[in-house]
């Protein structure tokens, strides 16, 4: 089944998805890797530069190019999500409804509340085609790969690899 979804995601959006579904995701997504996860969890909620309720976090460190007074994403595939397993429960406790990455994560953490979307690792040039613009960037002091990039995506084709009902595509 292929469905179109727009961020922020609701609980209802998430619960109807099943492992193996293809989702064309549009709206705003936020990149975060190891350091950004640590920072998100170290700050009080009101100091976060984004609203976590319904948010989709992308495990991605993009290649970016300066364009005028902003940035353009050149290549932006997913990074290995398992590194972020240690933060997963706390991140989902903030209300985050979707994670995009590669390689999979702890299945039980997603139960009844969120989904794990997979995009093909290494296919960064293709993923960049779905990124319409960089809306903002926070925490550049962490370095370009680890900063929190606020991206607007349109019809980003991702696969539901872990659903909220305990199903996973990973072997």
């Amino acid at each position: 089944m292929a469905v179109k979804l727009k961020t922020p995601l609701s609980e209802e959006d998430v619960l109807k998805l099943r492992a193996g579904d293809i989702v064309h995701l549009s709206g705003t997504i936020y990149t975060a890797r190891d350091s950004a996860h640590r920072r998100i969890l170290s700050l009080p909620r009101e100091e976060l530069p984004f609203e976590p309720e319904g948010a989709v976090i992308y495990h991605c460190g993009p290649v970016v190019r300066k364009r005028g007074d902003g940035y353009e994403v050149v290549s932006a595939g997913p990074t290995t999500s398992a590194r972020m397993n240690a933060y997963l429960d706390e991140i989902l406790n903030l209300g985050v409804r979707g994670i995009i990455g590669k390689g999979g994560m702890e299945v039980r953490s997603f139960k009844d509340r969120a989904v794990y979307f997979a995009f093909t690792g290494g296919a960064g040039s293709l993923a960049a085609k779905s990124i319409k613009r960089v809306k903002a960037v926070h925490w550049l002091d962490l370095g370009i790969p680890e900063a929190l990039w606020v991206l607007e995506v349109e019809d980003f084709p991702v696969l539901v690899a872990i659903d909220s009902h305990g199903n996973s595509l990973y072997r």
Binding site: G20, I22, S35, C60, G61, P62, V63, V64, R65, V74, S75, A76, G77, T79, T80, A82, K102, G103, G104, A118, F119, T120, G121, G122, A123, G124, S125, L126, A127, A128, K129, L142, G143, I144, P145, E146, P157, L159, A161, L169, Y170, R171
Partner: protein, 283 residues
């Protein structure tokens, strides 16, 4: 010279070598599951976009590693290291590459892919007046699945096979399969890993010239593919595209095995610097 090295880096990250593309296309033809085909189709599309738009196929443009065969009589030996570092800085800006060099104590990103010990340069002195440089940009996801086993000699080649298959199984989808496995056997702990990485420079589909070693490569490839991990770890027939083994003599007490896992984006490019300064770049 730095300009030519920038071009080799650009070629390596924007174009996946033909032998790798062919192996991926064959894998696409073999896979039956819709999910395996979704992933392989995305890979082939990304390769095409990288080539036509001259942009990095994968956002992880890796840590740059250079294998240098330095002819003792080349007039450019003295300037090569500086040229490689300068080219790395320039390529980061021009290609562009993702800045991937982080200070080990402060965690600060240097911003230009250079820093203590990086880019990595392996030197080998050869006869003659030419320099040949292989560029291998290698991503972190697959590099994190590298491993070393210090087997006992009694475990021998059976042990190598057991170790490699068990390790690839444990890594699952993390290193972006279908992978290419570089295996270094013998020498010492450090040499086996270096040989494993160097093995990745060989073309996919090209077996080791020694028939027995080529046979072992095929056996390990078959065993790894029967794991069913498949493209991106979501099941399928193709977990590895190829297995490359390089060997060295060993200490009688040791049987070291270095394993370097390379994701499907098996990026590489080469350049040759002639004594008159002319440079050839190829893949």
């Amino acid at each position: 010279m730095a300009n030519a090295i920038v071009e080799a880096i650009r070629l390596a990250v924007t174009r996946i070598p033909d032998d790798v593309v062919l192996a991926l296309e064959e894998a696409y033809g073999r896979e039956e599951s819709e999910i395996a085909r979704f992933n392989l189709e995305n890979i082939l599309k990304a390769i095409d976009i990288g080539k036509t738009e001259s942009i990095p196929v994968c956002q992880d443009t890796g840590t740059l590693t250079f294998f240098v065969k330095a002819g003792v009589n080349s007039p450019f030996l003295g300037e090569l290291e500086d040229a490689i570092i300068e080219a790395t800085r320039r390529a980061t800006e021009d290609v562009p590459l993702r800045p991937n060099a982080v200070d080990i104590l402060t965690g600060r990103n240097s911003g230009d892919n250079t820093g203590r010990g990086v880019p990595i340069i392996h030197w080998e002195i050869t006869e003659g007046d030419e320099i040949e440089v292989a560029v291998l940009p290698k991503g972190g996801g697959s590099e994190n699945c590298s491993a070393l086993a210090m087997l006992t000699p009694s475990e021998g080649w059976e042990g190598v096979k057991r170790f490699v298959v068990a390790h690839v199984k444990a890594c699952g989808g993390k290193p972006c399969p279908p992978v290419i496995l570089g295996i270094g056997v013998g020498g010492s702990a450090d040499l086996s890993l270096k040989l494993a990485k160097k093995a990745l420079l060989r073309r996919v589909g090209e077996g080791h010239p020694n028939e027995r070693i080529a046979g072992l490569e095929g056996e390990i490839l078959g065993a790894v593919n029967s794991l069913g991990i498949g493209p991106m770890g979501m099941g399928g027939r193709t977990t590895a595209l190829d297995v490359k083994i390089e060997v060295a003599h060993r200490h009688p007490a040791s049987f070291p095995v270095g394993l370097v896992v390379q994701c499907w984006a098996n990026r590489r490019a080469f350049l040759r610097i002639k004594p008159d300064g002319r440079v050839e770049v190829w893949q």
